[in-house]
Amino acid sequence: MGTILQVEHLEKYYGNKGNLTKAIDDLSFSVEQGEYIGIMGASGSGKTTLLNCISTIDRASAGHIYVEGKDITAFNGKKLAKFRREELGFIFQDFNLLDTLNAFENIALALTLCGTPPKEVAPRVQHIARRLDILDVLNKYPYQMSGGQKQRVASARAIVTNPALVLADEPTGALDSKSARMLLESFETLNRDLGTTILMVTHDAFTASYCHRILFIKDGRLFNELVRGRDSRKTFFNRIIEVVALLGGDNADVL
């Protein structure tokens, strides 16, 4: 098992000399292939900034990010676009499906952007749709689908290109609890059966409890790390709650 993602001494500053905000302050960690990793932290802890840096939407101030051994902080322009469409898969909180396209076309779009031969598009979409149990909504438009269906379509779009890394930003944020559970279960299946590496950002302890390992971030620094190991999800959930309480407790000290 190789290292998929390696973050080394990552720093991201906002503002100018007089008023400097360190969104990410000397953060280092790595993700192995086939891992299902969660990143937790309160609002403003820097987790979204971290995700933006990894997804190359934002540029790091200092430090390096390696994906499959390649330093993506040194990429620019065309190479970035190529990297994004071939190595990364995105799942957003608000689904971000194109409302002009139906589910099938939304998934196919990721493939056509990669220049997949037109003949292969349909079988690959069908294949991934079967996996995620969305075969019956393929002909529907986003406005005709439920939130859970939309997010599964978005997930299918993210993994249909077989990316090295799937980045999920609060994927359950806009879902009811039943849909959230179904989605997380499909993530688990994808991770287990297809070996998809998933990096999920969340502040919800229940969502996080599906991960194998969780990084806690506070004020741009690594605060704690939890590994699920052989724990049941319930046990793991309780351990997460403890750390979250600790994160909050720290705040209480200040007050």
Partner: protein, 690 residues
Amino acid sequence: MFCKLAFKNVRKSFQDYTIYFLTLTFAVCLFYVFNSVQSQKAMLEISASTETMMQMLETLIAFFSIFVAVVLGFLIVYANNFLVKRRKKELGLYQMLGMNRRSVSLLLMLETVFVGIIALAAGLILGVFASQGMSIVTASLFEVQLTRYVFIFSPAAAQKTLFCFGIIFLIVILFNFVTISRVKLIDLINGERQNEKPHLRSGAVTLLSFVLAVLCLAAAYFVALKFGLLAGPLLGIAILLGSIGTLLFFFSLSGFLTRLLRRNKRFYFKGLNMFVLQQINSRINTAFVSLTVICLMLFFTICTLSGGIGLANAMSASLKANTPFDASVSVPSTLLSYYFEEEDPSSAQTKTITQTLQDFGFDPASYGISSAEFTIYLDTGSTPIDAFLLDGAPLTSYTEELKNAIKTYEPDSPHRHFQLLKLSDYNQILALQGKAPISLEEGQYYLLGSSSTAPTLNAYLQNGGTFSVNGQTLQPANREAADTALFTSSAASSDGTIVVPDTVTNGLPAFSLVLDMQYPAGLSESETTAVNAALEAVTGNRKAPLYGSTRESTYDSAATLRVTATYIAIYLGFTFLIAGAAILAIQQLSEASDNIARYRLLRKLGAESKLIHHALFSQIAIYFLCPLGLAGFHSIFGMQLLHKILGALGTSSALPYVFATAAFVLVIYGLYFLATYFGCRSMICEKRIR
């Protein structure tokens, strides 16, 4: 604070909708320039007759200005509604923050006033300067000299511009009041999210409307081609059918294409093709009406411009050939009684035109004028022209054209008969023009025609066509109809005239009397004008049973027609063109700003900038090209019709004007297209991700 907010909002929308404000400014400018034509005479050396022409031109422009103001009014109201709709969320926010509806309405009103003042001021300033340049154009069209440079400002035109646009902006304010008072706060807040539901209409509906569209258009084209101007009420139906066909065409086009292209996996699953296609498809539900309007506007522009300018030039092209004499005086059939015994045109003539002129105080001899007087006869018993021409079998391909020409000349009479001219009279006319005389044998005739009817007539002559008149059957003496003008006139005077041996006309009634005059050689321009003035004093006298036309007056009236047709064509054409293009541009710009999120997503999914720009380009290009393409197609048929009209007036070819118009339309339209594309591009690149 209130003013400041309004002012800032205006500035913000200036950035986003530069094209709209430029169009507004340009519209004001156009309106002012054309309404200030009258005041341009300050710079020109103008004769009394030109002055009356300019007054006529001004009246016409004033009339068409109402029409133009209505079109511009629609454009401005439409564009404003579009802009307000786009700002629903912002307006909702003001209300959420505690502003009451009245204040929001007031804010919008203030903004409209700001926009109005800026556009009016800029447009008027631009217009004042443009009208200086326009004087040069006017001078060259009227063929007069620019005498001195005077800075022209027309208060009347400025007043009129302010008045018209003031009313338009008032209507805009009213519309805004209604919009604000009628919407619910929740709709304002969620305004952005209310997207059109993208759905494909059922295949049957799409196919049916597409087929119907094609049928409608085909029927319209057929009527236009087959019946031409003769269609009368049918032509109205053709226009209606064409409009309905256009509407159905745009209604079904995107659905039809999507269905077709979806099957072609190779195309559909390539790059962003799928995205672009659905992007267009998703908007077509509302866009098809405006696409139709724009298409028809473009069609109108093309026809008006090339038709108007073609008409103007058709007249002046044939002018030289139509005016071989310095002056001609004629007596139309209604006034003939004055010249004949017992007031019967078939009896003996008692008086000549020269005598009548002398009676009224104009003696041609005293001016050294050489003249030729002749009589034109008509045999109502002879074969009418149309039947005559249908007679020869090989003529069928031409008859339609000639019949149209005939109907254009005398729309009321069902048949027209050939005019007859005595050989001796004809030779007299030739001599006065300095041409060699012709001779005819007994039983022969000699046919005259103009450039527009010559092909038909020649074909008949070459088939050995005979002609019966006054109980005699005559054989043709010439194989090609001669184009010799009989008198000075703005239209070809020789059309449908037959020269016969002198005895043939015995006993036939006179149709009209004509006196051609050639002024002595070496007469200076001012002397010619003096002679003309003396002659016109007689012919203009209501008591004199005469009708006169001089070469000078013919040229003058041709110049008027040229200027009028050219100006009105440019005025209307321009208005329609910029109105159409501006509507398209505003639609596309607002669509692009609605779509910022979509393009951002594409970027996140890893689409390169080049690919996204390409998608945007094709999307806008399709929107701009569809109406233009169909309008161009319509125009091919519209032109055929126009060509028939122009052909009747004796033009050689309208083609150069069609090309010039096409180039002009393409340039303006292309500029709008480019401005829209770059505007949209900077909009979607604004919130940039690396």
